[in-house]
């Protein structure tokens, strides 16, 4: 472990892109501002110089065309990695993602597949303008055919992106914008992919399990640290992918402990947390020792950044819910 470089999530993503573009000349990057500027977060900085303007392409400002053209590019033999500047902007591309990209293999009865990765930063906590932080991942869960990947750590950011680009099916790869530069961690230098549908227990404790994905995993870790001072030992399970969902890993984590809190950044009602809760009660009802609580965003439109702390899940709310669950 000690000889692995410590990278930020942003650096890990950039490294994975470079590695895949070196490995496979069909891989190309397209999106708004990804070339000359290197992306609004500079994730793709240096790629244009390294791989040239045919493989690193600044496109017009049109999310539907970026995704729709990526499907056509894939059918034509390329492996596009499209960047949509923020997940909240995929509303303008939703019809090209759900009914088109996700269904193309099915509709063509396997004649065509869509080896397309869509990268999109999302999530709050950085006081961004409206639409930039929206956590709308659950909307895509209702679009069978697309996989949904949401790393929370630099090593997973790399391993899951390698896996996404190589996956023959379309992948929505969600990047936690608040974590891009704020955390660092060891990242294996080689070709190590992270398989989809495998959750990761990032902290072990016997009293309660906190289930989350993306940036919310780090809120859970902070809450677990705080609970430890009260003598409560919390596990934290990072789902890593929502589709496919690691049902076996989830149930294994729950059955050992019997108490669960689910945390996510999207509004609570109809969020993916509801799916987690439903799955647990069906598969592990007998092992539950307390009602499952959800800590999520409020069911309001995303407020201005100055008010987002009232909206988003917080360490304080997670601690309160965890305490109530443990004491039940």
């Amino acid at each position: 472990m000690s000889n692995e470089p410590e990278l930020s999530i942003l650096e890990a993503i950039r490294g994975a892109l470079i590695q895949e573009m070196d490995r496979d000349e069909r891989v190309m990057v397209l999106g708004m501002d990804v070339g000359q500027l290197g992306g609004v977060f500079r994730v793709t900085r240096g790629l244009l110089e390294k791989f040239g303007p045919e493989r690193v392409v600044d496109t017009p400002l049109a999310e539907g065309a970026i995704v729709g053209a990526s499907l056509g590019l894939a059918i034509g033999g390329m492996v596009p990695v499209a960047e949509v500047q923020f997940l909240g902007f995929t509303h303008q591309a939703f019809h090209q993602i759900g009914p088109q990209l996700a269904r193309y293999r099915f509709r063509s009865r396997g004649r065509f597949s869509a080896q397309v990765t869509i990268r999109a930063p999302f999530g709050g906590g950085t006081r961004t303008p409206e639409f930039h932080p929206d956590a709308i991942e659950a909307q895509f869960v209702q679009a069978p055919g697309v996989k949904i990947v949401c790393p929370a750590f630099p090593d997973d950011a790399k391993g899951l992106l390698l896996e996404a680009i190589r996956d023959p099916d379309p992948v929505l790869y969600l990047e936690p914008q608040r974590l891009y530069r704020s955390i660092r961690g060891p990242v294996p230098a080689g070709d190590q992919t992270v398989p989809f549908g495998s959750s990761r227990l990032v902290r072990e404790g016997k009293d309660v399990v906190l289930v989350a994905w993306s940036a919310a995993v780090h809120l859970c870790l902070a809450a677990a640290d705080q609970m430890a001072q009260e003598g409560v030992a919390a596990s934290v399970l990072d789902l890593r992918t929502l589709v496919p969902l690691d049902v076996a890993g989830l149930i294994a984590a729950v059955e050992k402990i019997g108490k669960v809190v689910v945390v996510h950044e999207a509004p609570v009602t109809g969020g993916f947390g509801a799916e987690i809760v439903a799955t647990i009660q069906q598969e592990a009802f007998g092992s539950l020792d307390a009602p499952i609580r959800r800590v999520a965003a409020r069911d309001t439109p995303y407020p201005p950044g100055s008010l987002e702390d009232y909206f988003l899940p917080s360490v304080r709310r997670i601690v309160a819910a965890t305490r109530a669950t443990v004491e039940y």
Binding site: G64, A69, G76, S108, P244
Partner: protein, 345 residues
């Protein structure tokens, strides 16, 4: 408006299409109308869900397809271009399977350069732009021909795809089949512009209006667009002005929104009749040949229909195939449940 073949069957100047190809096109047009008749009949018998006939649009669809090389070029269809798809290599059996509800048998065969029909209006346009972009990046040669209607020209996908295709200068031929109606909505409710082809200028590439009931004009204009695309000249928009002589589909009743007089007038400009007149005038077609062609067509349709009817119906397992390359565990479980549900009790 580009016009070459008059209603009287006389051509302005020399025919741009070889006489062999004229005969091939005429046979396809007759096939198209026979397919319309058969599938409408099957729909009325409850054996086909819904069907949208090509009736009236044969010259636009077939004239453009005749300008393409099935070994080199791709077709990205909307939903009313099956004659072009057949010419490009889709077996008649697969086409019948499409409408008779057997989606596995309807698949585009390997090696045939066609995308599936698109039911979401205009959604195929960005796909076509991307596919043409890939041909350019891979230096594959060839062009992509994409079909869409005047209704689709109001969709955001049309504007986004046109703009991208222009910026990337991709080898794309955009065939706007203006049949004057999107279900009941007339073209003057789609746009305040006098012509849709003029939009191309806004995207930085040429646009042309062509008589869409004129096989030779559609063909010649498409040949020019294909050549320009192959020479690196980028996209072309071709507005084929035609008329939907039939209904939108079998669930539609056009009497509720258009006058019979309008349809009668359109029938005077029937795209097949003028090719027939031209072919007879050139001595390459006769009543006997037509009778023989119709016999062959009838027999081919009978065979295709029977082949589809003889296929086993897809079962519960089919809905789980091709969702992903590898079925995730959750879907494996659902598949097992669905197969269990489907077992006769």
């Amino acid at each position: 408006m580009i016009e070459l073949l008059g209603v009287d069957g006389k051509v302005r100047g020399a025919s741009p299409m070889s006489l062999d190809k004229v005969v091939e096109a005429l046979r396809l047009m007759l096939l198209s109308r026979a397919i319309d008749d058969r599938l409408i009949k099957l729909q009325r018998m409850g054996r086909v869900g819904v069907y949208g006939p090509v009736h009236g649009q044969e010259a636009a669809v077939i004239g453009s397809a005749m300008a393409l090389d099935p070994q080199r070029d791709w077709i990205v269809p909307a939903s009313r271009e099956h004659p072009a798809m057949l010419r490009h290599g889709l077996p008649l059996k697969n086409m019948f399977a499409t409408y008779m509800g057997n989606f596995d048998a309807a698949a585009i065969p390997d090696g045939v350069r066609l995308l599936p029909r698109q039911q979401s209006i205009g959604a195929q346009l960005p796909h076509a732009a991307g596919l043409a972009w890939a041909l350019k990046l891979r230096r594959a040669g060839g062009v992509v021909a994409v079909y869409f209607g005047e209704g689709a020209s109001s969709e955001g996908d049309f504007h986004e795809a046109s703009n991208l295709a222009g910026v990337m200068r991709v080898p794309l031929v955009m065939l706007l089949i203006n049949n004057h109606y999107a279900i009941s909505t007339p073209v003057h409710r789609q746009t305040a512009a006098a012509e849709l082809a003029a939009r191309a200028e806004g995207y930085g590439f040429p646009g042309f209006v062509v008589d869409g009931n004129d096989l030779l004009a559609v063909y010649a204009t498409t040949v020019d667009a294909v050549n320009r695309a192959i020479d690196g000249g980028g996209p072309t928009l071709i507005e084929c002005r035609t008329y939907r002589m039939g209904f939108h589909n079998t669930s539609d009743n056009p009497k509720e929104y258009r006058d019979r007089a309008e349809v009668d007038e359109a029938e005077q400009r029937d795209p097949i009749e003028r090719v027939r007149r031209f072919a007879i005038r050139e001595g390459i077609w006769s009543a006997e040949q037509e009778a023989a062609a119709l016999d062959e067509i009838r027999s081919a349709i009978e065979t295709a229909q029977r082949q589809v009817e003889e296929l086993p119906r897809p079962g519960a397992a089919a809905i789980f195939e091709h969702v992903y390359e590898t079925l995730p565990p959750r879907l494996q479980q659902q598949r097992a449940e669905a197969l269990d549900d489907a077992r006769p009790s």
